[in-house]
């Protein structure tokens, strides 16, 4: 309204900063309109010309702001320009990815590439898990009371060294959870247990890998000692089948989560040329993908466990289903997201 008044009156000599504002006010207001439009409708709500105009006006407002800081002492104007430029900056530099694109990229390239880059950490986690398993297996074979040192009370469900072969066989093949309720509850309980173990071994990796390593090793010992007591009754292969259907996926998830933790821990221990914070952020890019893959696999394992294990009781079909699903995971990790070789 000031400017309209000015048009009616004879031209008054204004000071430099006031002239500056008068000359550019129109552009700023147009930019404010465009930004408001984008925030309501999104960038796709603009026409081609309008989006060109938006970026051009944004750059002009950045220019105005930097100039105003030099020539103007009008605080209201400085605040306005700063707010306007910030809003425009946020509108212009908005995230470019769409949801579908993001999910697609994760499955096609992001996740398998991150897994392949972390091969060493996965290998270490695998050795730790199976190292723990072998140690506990031989310890428990030589002295069955080791079992109680490794297995927490809640997990075994009465399957200890003193359990009879009959009982163990029943637990492996028995139709003990007939109702849907028990199935679902059981699955959720185990699902959350393993999720927590994975989250722990992932996050604790930051503390120089040590807690993650111990946790992975310990999980291995539970596995090993379980095998030992079944082996003593001649049921090792049956346990293998019982575990295969979901365990292949689930143990792989544990290993991958631990490997993610190792990536973080390795960044803290050996930051290289970066600062520790920067190294952690860099490793975090892959580690997050590993964590997401692990979460996805745990979800799949939970489903397999809830429905597959109780419904499919034949030994060989358990093994085939479990390991073919494992093979599918492996194929995804190894084959997906490879760059095409360019021949020269």
């Amino acid at each position: 309204m000031v400017t309209t008044l000015a048009d009616d009156r004879p031209e008054i000599e204004l000071m430099r900063s006031a002239r500056f504002r008068k000359d550019r006010e129109g552009e700023w207001k147009r930019l404010a309109d465009l930004v408001a439009h984008v925030e309501k409708r999104g960038l796709s709500g603009l026409s081609f010309d309008e989006s060109l105009e938006l970026t051009a006006l944004y750059r002009q407002s950045v220019n105005s702001l930097s100039l105003a800081r030099e020539i103007s002492l009008d605080q209201a104007l400085l605040h306005y320009l700063e707010s306007l430029t910030t809003r425009a900056y946020l509108a212009v530099y908005a995230p470019r990815t769409t949801l579908v694109g993001l999910v697609g990229r994760f499955f096609k390239t992001g996740a398998p590439q991150a897994i392949r880059r972390s091969w060493l950490h996965i290998l270490v986690a695998t050795f730790l898990l199976f190292g723990g398993a072998f140690a506990a297996y031989f310890l428990t074979l030589s002295d069955p009371t080791w079992y109680y040192a490794f297995v927490p009370g809640g997990l075994s469900g009465g399957r200890g060294p003193e359990a009879s072969e009959e009982f163990l066989r029943n637990a492996l093949y028995g139709d003990n959870a007939g109702s849907v309720e028990r199935l679902a509850a059981f699955s959720t309980q185990l699902f959350t247990h393993n999720t927590q173990v994975s989250i722990m071994s992932f996050t604790l990796g930051v503390m120089a890998c040590l807690p993650s390593g111990l946790l992975t090793f310990y999980n291995g010992t539970v596995l090993g000692t379980f095998f030992a007591i079944h082996d003593a009754k001649g049921l090792a292969f049956d346990l293998f089948g019982w575990l295969s259907i979901h365990g292949v996926t689930e143990l792989a998830a544990l290993i991958i989560a631990a490997a993610g933790g190792f990536r973080l821990g390795a960044a803290v221990l050996f930051p290289g040329q970066r600062t520790r914070g920067a190294a952690l952020r860099h490793a975090g890019r892959d580690a997050t993908k590993l964590a997401l893959v692990a979460a996805l696999m745990l979800l799949a394992a939970g489903l397999l466990e809830g429905f597959g294990r109780q419904l499919i009781t034949d030994l060989w079909s358990r093994i085939i289903i479990g390991w073919s699903i494992g093979g599918m995971w492996l194929a995804w990790f190894v084959l997906c997201g490879r760059k095409r070789q360019v021949k020269i």
């Binding site: 000015a6 000071m15 900063s17 605080q75 700063e82 996050t203």
Partner: protein
Amino acid sequence: MWPFRKKDSETARRKAIGRARKLSDGLEKRLQIIPPEGVPLNIRLAPLGQRLGAQVVDTLVTFIGAAIFVALFAMSFSTSWNLISVVAALTFFLIRIPYYIISELVWNGRTLAKRWLGLRVVSVDGRSLSAHQIVVRNIMKEIEFFLPLTYALAGPSQHWSFSATAWLWLLVLLIVPWRNKHNKRIGDIIANTAVIMDPKPVLLNDLVSTIAMKPGVTTDARFVFSSGQLDEYGRFELQVLEKVLRSSAKSTSGTWAKQQQYLKEIVERIVQKIDYEEQIETKDHRLFLEAFYSAQREHLERRKLLGDAREDKYFKEEKTGEETS
């Protein structure tokens, strides 16, 4: 003698800087972002209370979403409470995690509650917020906040040391953003993001042009100030005067007398400081201040262009301090 003088100018400088900062920052934490264009932007960070509020509202939103789903499930299948509670826990879990990621991705760093409260997640490095950053900060929220919370509230079914650790964990998590320079929680630190208040651009009138339009100010040259008289004040005082003029311009009739008294005091202080000889009538107080503001601003802006930026009225002492030291 000079150590005393130096100390004096030093305290004066500190005082002035403290005041200036109070004025320009309003006692709020700010974040400086440098966009690719290279001009730094100073943005107000979101206060912790607002962020906690947004978190509570978002938790409610996801909880209600899960509750509707579970209610539909219970109505259509009508099974036992046991199963329903399992489904409820799973649904809440499976709705919660994607909700934050998807909403912050689609609405450029804003969940529903952040939209309502005017908050926004930004990337500190001055580039656009990447999907990776959004995923990281929200997965860390799961580990930072929801996991210990479930342990803390799990009750007597577990060993007491578990809940004690969980409460300690939560306490540490509250301390981290409180002590952090940019109110970042751990997820923000890892993802290199910060939560800001969405700035609202409001364009106020240009005081100088408004004053120039008034008859009898510049045209008559009623109040004239010599350059010596304009050498007393700096940027800080000018902007305080700007605030006074803006707030008194829109004051209502109820506070009219109070405003007049206020203006009178300011006029007296200025007249005394700059040795203005003429007597100023009460009805002209505002006119005088406006004229002084215009003249002072023009003078200071010109000095600044010539490389002589004056931060506040202590600028002379600062200069002598620099010379002696």
